[in-house]
Symmetry: D2
Subunit: 384 residues, 4 copies
């Protein structure tokens, strides 16, 4: 069994929980789960054991109750979700500015006690994998392990950093665990955390799940590179109506997304170009199905200019939820292989900004090949 804890019971967590249960019940096919049944671990081995949040309207509710309110999709909400409850988590002002009332466990107990209590819960739940899918928060990497330690002790870290630190403590003390950082906060891109996980015999994957238009852009750039077309400019707009877009619309949070995508273009093309790639705005009626618009201009042979425009409608949360079905299993596999620290081959495919820090961005196509190789899998479609 792979015992999973969710951190942040938002729409992604709900789609993951609903989809996973339906998958285990054979109610849906495994579309959107990249490796699907190619992985040696079965869907039925994955079990969500707890969820943490700080939104007062969610704490104490079952995932079933939460899905009833927020999940708009085909099919019924699985009744198995009635047994999983949302517990009060660490806040540390991570939801500042967002439109709901929040309170963290540290506000009553102090951070030290709150942390101990939660780690004890994990031990009792015998947790293997923790998935960080809280709302995007503004944060910089620390890079120095001692400074990280001081930050933790002085309650100077953000919520994501604190959870990541806790998962390392848990790994060191009780049982090797994998921390999957699916949001932009630099964890797998923070040398301090990578080192901490190595020492703690834990695994961290990250950062920022590669959904939406950015992986598509990466592969389009690869496509153009392979034809020596000279890209002269790229713009990509994203607008949606879910909480993540609401948060990204706040200037200090938007900056996180911008950083995520900056180095990719140069790494893939071999030269830099002006670009404008970022979440652009919040439009409530779009809901979770975001609107992406994109332009790529390039020079063809003889210096003729071509243009590619892409318009897409993408269900934001299901896309990430599908990746998580692989990632929780890969977390377990990495631990079994004792691949402590972080695993570039996993991050390169599943993350927008793959750790460890300093990693070269590669197209998702190349990342897929590396991932298969790391797993010892062969693509049966391709003739030798």
């Amino acid at each position: 069994m792979i015992r999973v804890v969710l951190i942040g019971q938002g729409l992604v967590a709900t789609h993951f929980a609903v989809g996973l249960e339906r998958l285990k019940n054979n109610e849906i096919p495994d579309h959107g789960v990249p490796l699907g049944t190619k992985l040696p671990l079965k869907y039925s081995e994955v079990e969500i054991v707890a969820s943490y949040d700080v939104d007062e309207s969610k704490i104490g509710k079952s995932l079933y109750e939460i899905a009833k309110k927020s999940y708009e999709g085909p099919g019924d909400i699985p009744r198995t979700l009635k047994d999983i409850y949302v517990r009060r988590g660490i806040h540390l002002a991570s939801t500042r500015g967002l439109p709901f009332r929040a309170k963290g466990r540290e506000e009553d107990l102090g951070l030290k006690r709150a942390v101990e209590e939660i780690i004890d819960e994990w031990r009792e739940l015998d947790v293997d994998v923790l998935v960080n899918i809280m709302t995007t928060e503004p944060v910089e990497p620390i890079n120095d392990i001692e400074e990280l330690q001081r930050g933790f002790e002085n309650a100077d870290l953000t919520a994501s950093q604190t959870y990541a630190y806790m998962a390392a403590l848990y790994s060191a003390k009780y049982k090797s665990a994998a921390f999957i950082n699916a949001i932009p906060s630099p964890i797998a891109n923070d040398n301090a955390f990578v080192e901490l996980y190595k020492k703690s015999r834990g695994v961290v994957f990250g950062d920022d799940g590669a959904t939406g238009a950015t992986p598509l852009t990466a592969d389009l750039l690869e496509h153009l590179y392979e034809r020596s077309r000279r890209v002269i400019g790229v713009a990509q707009f994203n607008i949606g109506g879910n909480m993540d877009f609401y948060a990204l619309n706040m200037p200090e949070r938007n900056i996180m997304k911008k950083i995520t995508k900056s180095s990719m273009i140069e790494d893939i093309l071999g030269y830099n170009i002006p670009n404008y790639i970022r979440p652009t705005g919040y439009l409530e009626p779009l809901g979770d199905k975001k609107f992406v618009a994109m332009i790529i201009e390039y020079m063809s042979f003889g210096e003729f200019k071509d243009e590619i425009y892409i318009v897409a409608r993408i269900n934001d949360s299901p896309a990430l939820a599908g990746l998580l079905v692989d990632l929780v299993r890969l977390g377990k596999i990495a631990i079994e292989r004792e691949a402590y620290g972080t695993v570039y081959e996993v991050n390169a495919f599943y993350m927008k900004r793959p750790g460890p820090p300093g990693s070269r961005a590669i197209s998702k196509f190349h990342a897929y090949l590396k991932l298969l190789k790391w797993l010892g899998l062969r693509d049966m479609r391709i003739p030798e």
Copy 2:
């Protein structure tokens, strides 16, 4: 030196000739030439020695004169093109229905004499590579080498088939040559021709140069496959204003393009889906810069439907001309390696319908890797 003959002095031939000379003069960068300077043969080694056509308004003119009339691009027409003349070629009704007056050399001399005369010219010109870029013609594969031979003797072949046959004769008699079939006629996809070239110590690449939206579609499908997204339908429209669209607008010629693209989807995705992918119409004001519109719908995790729409403006002839700069050099390389018959690794990347017959379609990403491997090249961007 690589001594090149052009068959069909249309817009692609003109873009190839102009671009190549400007490239040799360092007037333009090598954008749109996929392998560029990674190949061991230099641009300066490529020399166009003759061109064949049946359009009365072109025969006897220099490529310079022809470019003056039809080439609309940046820069001056290179004066070196004043020395290359269009010769009267084989017609065999290949331009039936098109809006110009045509006459083939066989109409005065009979086919046998015409063929001998032209092969003699090639011998004198010491030709290495022949590039077939005539207008799309309707034609079926023959598959039986004896039937092919009889067809040739009875003047039952199309113009493309006749030229391909002639290049094999030339290879057998005088000097190994490469025939690059950049149009949809099945040559590399005709077992009879592949066998003929093997016997004749010649090389054939084909069929149908992979420009425009089809290779992009292949790589988009690969992208979706790698995420296990379930594609439910694909439509791709193409409309342009050049002679090739004019010809494809004639129902009997359009059928050629439809065949070209049919098996790709199933080979890449592993399942078949309804699709509508074909040149759609002729709109004169678009000129050579075609308009492509596309929809791809797929199911994401949890059975949510996403949609991708692509709109593109692509300069049709330059795209193919850029590929030819590689292909003529690869033709020479294949001959040096004695890779007689056809070379799947080259075809898979550069052609829409890679021969030999029965080859599995693969995404262009995978084809690029195979091509590099065949050439012994390594992609320096990708960490080991």
Copy 3:
């Protein structure tokens, strides 16, 4: 009351029937009904009294049963549709080539008897308005009333023409009625029919309900005209997965749509331009929600070229069904006003090819103003 007969119980008829009943029950707002409550006749006054079809699988079924099978939309199927049955109508080979088993009443009774029987039914049902929404059929205008008469007597007319003729007979003999021809067959664009209706004290509206992208194109061209931008080319592709696209994909039926749209551009812009506007193909997974892709290129001041690309997803049948909610009421109003023959002001707004023959195409903006004026309505948004 406005007593309505449907001719052709396809998807449009079903959407009209379901939507109308839900509208009368206040279950849905009147979105997509252009004049809505501005018309003096209420939705509750409209009553569907019968439906005719020749598809064996539909004859004898209630509209409720048919909707259960084919209607995919929000809300429940209204139970009031259980009382309306599909009767066997006139066939005359109108469904040739379509994928279902069909038989017309004339096949057993002979055309003369079948016609009499059906007109008798209309008299009993006290019919006011007939709506022709059968599948597109290939047909040319007749223009000569005596030839029309002969055609009717010799059973040489198409199904649409026959029904239109029958509605005129009914108007002349029993009660003035309106025939709404929402398909491309030229009825309001046939001088013979316009004259026949005048004589018969009936009203015909037509031809081809103005849904989808064509009215949008008309208004975009008007927008460009008003800025003196010089349009240089227009292409518009349409692809869908409903029966109408299936039928239009048959070359002889497609021609009908092409005719519909041809004169519009010149009438609006004042000059003609190359264009490619037509239904392009059939792609089953798109269902009733068609995909439209469009390019408009124009010259701006100083001879700079701009480009507009439009991609749209439009629910085909609901769009026409919404127009019908107005048209059946306008049919009744026209009869009350004794506006016998046809009414250009209605056709100009609601139809792609407004009759009578020889009418100038105008943008839908201008048509809307003419319609309001004919009705004596004023647009309250516009300051005097």
Copy 4:
């Protein structure tokens, strides 16, 4: 003759000057000039007599020299532009943050002297029309004429406000003139200015020339309104590479554009909806040909959701320059008619935010009808 002064010798001024001269020389057709030859005043009657700017690199240069550097279009720069020079204008920090060295005449002379000197120049030049096309500046309306007066005397106004004030002074003292405010600064939307112009026997047109996607959006919304389709959300992105996008990318300037477009949707549709319509970013390689991407979602009959996506490439400066060819002539006409203050009928069609303050937004289609009516022109395409 109509003697015109340009304020701000940026790209729009250059396109206007080049295009106007080429038009007068019959070198180009009058595409993009909405009323073209329908106006009683000829192109040859328009004469640019001076230009004002504060960019040190432009002052003292001829429009010919400036066009040589910045104009990239078909045709030669007209030599008549050699006789028009850029004079040093009023700065008042209007270019703060922009990437060039600027100095206003007031910096040496003090504002009072500078103003007098410039007005004297206008008197000598016998100016009729002044066109404000400087870079977007952040500014709020004043609304109180006395406060405006004090602002002018205390040098508290922005550059646009100061020029507008000066044109009113000139009108009052010497000769009625028209001030055309083609940028977002609220001048025609400032009660103080409208009153001032009435008193001064001058005319002001404004604000913010209606180019690009906003007028198109207005007419699309009108199109949807006329079909009672329920719009549920609109997003419109704009990105370009000219100085105006550079400036709008500065947060304090972007706010100006947002205000411009806000009330339009509600005025046209009759209800408000969430929307995101604004210049989104700066991407240098796009140059003056901006990229616009748009989504409109609406409910059709029966509560089915349709989607329209628009992608456009629009040459930004030529679009406005074409409108100016009308506006300078309309300025003269308004003065001849003594239509002092502002003219809603002109503003409603040519401006994004038509003055006077409190005017209802109407679609451009309706505005065009109002404009024709004000001018006593009839649309010959529309049957009575």
